[in-house]
């Protein structure tokens, strides 16, 4: 039996679903792959439970899940909450072969992740933030450790679910790059929420009406501007562009949100009330696109011209007869145009959100890590 010790950062929805899926698949993993995934530490932002030697028992894990479900924090081991303490957890709980899984949503984990990599442990990220930090941090996370002298190491880091949840976007990009294929253009939609909005606009509905419905259905964040601003999509575009080998920062991405900067200072209630001011603008935009035979999508576009990369995120009029133009609803989609995939792109489409689908993608990454060196 192969033992795969796991340290988990983050016990929100995705982290908890991952724990549940690992427990539920224990027999399947043992019987099919001879693989035993074993939690040696579970950490939330303030505390942790650790059992380096034998791994946490089912009872300890279930108790932790129950606590988190009640909105409480882990009890056994109080952390100070600073970054140094996550490194201390890795130090105490880690043994050779350990996989550190980051399902949190904070940059605070970076020192602990780098510490884990310096120990030759492996890292799986559902957390986008470490990869959208400065290029230098990205390089340190993705480059070979002391064991390999190379800018990129395909063995020690996986980050599939940072773009398109469980869809195999990063795996596909990594495969194309590794084969030496040259990716000329990437066009995609990476927000189910914004896909819902754009489909509503295309159907002739008012912007204010669709945003309100998405808000009421819980499709948006509590403050819808967190979706409408496009920053989350920009993070995903940055991760893709860096995965293609380009060196750039968040500030190099042209981000166009769905509301004017002026509305940034409003309260959520004021913002919701002010939405009808934008209705006419979007009616015009949709009509203008339609007049050209196009449709409006909230798209991320990465264009490589003579080796230089241009990366933009925003409402975009796209030809109807393209993968992006044919898309409707909340599915994510990525179209990769490369040397071998042109004029027709390689397209991946499907659900790009949801805690269970995301956790399943994290679990795929974790299982792969049992076989890499």
């Amino acid at each position: 039996m192969m033992e795969l010790p796991v340290i988990l950062f983050g016990l929100g929805g995705v982290g908890r679903s991952l724990v549940r899926q690992i427990l539920d698949n224990r027999l399947f993993h043992a019987e099919t792959y001879g693989l035993r995934v074993r939690f040696v530490a579970l950490c939330d932002s303030r505390s942790a439970i650790i059992e380096p030697t034998d791994g946490l028992t089912d009872e300890e894990i279930e108790a932790a899940l129950a606590l988190k479900k009640e909105g409480k924090s882990l009890a056994h081991h109080e952390l100070g909450g600073s970054q140094d303490d996550l490194s201390a957890i890795v130090d105490i709980a880690g043994i050779p072969g350990t996989v550190v899984v980051d399902c949190s949503a904070t940059e605070q984990t970076v020192p602990a992740l780098l510490f884990a990599l310096s120990r030759d442990y492996k890292v799986v990220l559902a957390n986008k933030k470490p990869l959208t930090n400065q290029q230098e941090v990205y390089d340190r996370l993705t480059r070979a450790g002391d064991t390999r002298d190379a800018p990129r190491d395909l063995a020690r880091l996986r980050w599939e679910t940072t773009v398109g949840a469980g869809l195999p976007v990063i795996a596909t990009l990594t495969r194309l790059v590794a084969s030496g294929d040259t990716i000329q253009r990437v066009a995609g939609t990476f927000s189910g929420t914004l896909g819902f909005l754009m489909t509503g606009l295309e159907a002739g509905r008012l912007f204010s009406e669709v945003v309100r419905e998405a808000h009421q259905l819980g499709y948006t964040e509590p403050d819808p501007r967190d979706d409408l601003g496009g920053v989350d999509v920009a993070r995903k575009a940055l991760i893709l562009a860096r995965g293609m080998g380009h060196r750039l920062e968040m500030k190099d991405i042209e981000v166009k949100g769905l509301y004017p900067p002026l509305m940034e200072t409003l309260t959520v209630a004021e913002f919701m009330d002010a939405l009808p001011q934008l209705d006419e603008h979007y009616q015009d935009e949709v009509a203008r696109a339609a007049a050209e035979g196009k449709v409006l999508r909230y798209a991320a576009t990465i264009q490589v011209t003579d080796g230089r990369v241009a990366c933009s995120v925003g409402p975009t009029a796209v030809e109807k007869d393209t993968p992006l133009g044919r898309l409707s609803g909340t599915d994510n989609l990525i179209a990769l145009y490369s040397r071998w995939y042109s004029p027709n792109p390689l397209v991946i489409q499907g659900r790009g959100a949801g805690v269970d689908a995301t956790a399943a993608g994290v679990l795929s990454d974790v299982v792969e890590m049992a076989y890499t060196v």
Copy 2:
């Protein structure tokens, strides 16, 4: 620098393109991954060149490519052509870490592949035949060797390009299975040639006319029945179903070809002349599908009901408003319906043929193998 010794079986179009792409990417692989892919043996069906210690030189490789391009066989080392000799090549040329890449199209390689795996070498298949052999052979190829006591080993075998060429079909399937997701249904088209035919029929063209055009353009095999019979698509369906963990044989797949068995005995010329006899049948089929709001596709379908798998390949009327229904032209497409991907499936679409795109997919598999254990 990581050294990755490669033994290549098969120097047809894909094999030669792979050699070319490995040479062309040498600097990129060295600078990006610190990886040096090194050919220690090149083998065609009759002969081989071997250089176990230092790897073949560029001059030796170029000379081999030139010979093959002229339709000649490799000269340095004459093989008897029997399976035992490929095992002997593996025996002579292999060292720990060796990847045996099979770009041939014959079952004759199976003993050598099993021999390579028994030595703990790794195997990359572009060749479908070893995986569509009896289930017992599939099991021996995909199972753990002496080093791991488990039915499946994710470290030692890759076969991405056996379905959909370079499209990440197998990688995606493997990831879903490894996460414990339950795949309920797979629907796909895995023949650009048959996609071309079906698009022509949908446009109202005669069956005989479209087949003749495809034949003249070189889209079909010299004998078009090799495509129209559906056996190649059935092999791909079998590989997918087995990848999902089901145990079945070629005979368990219901294959419906595009011509009646009666026409099997004709010469190619007679067959081409007899095609108009089928025109009316396909006009009726297309019209009947259209009357139900459907379109005709040459589809592979894998349906799992209560744990039992049913696998069929043939002309199928599908709803227009599905991924398969929206597809046109020569692209391949796979729609995976699973626990996490339903009602909307996970869809992968793009070019599913071509020696260069296939060889690029093989190269991605080879590079991955540098990092597995």
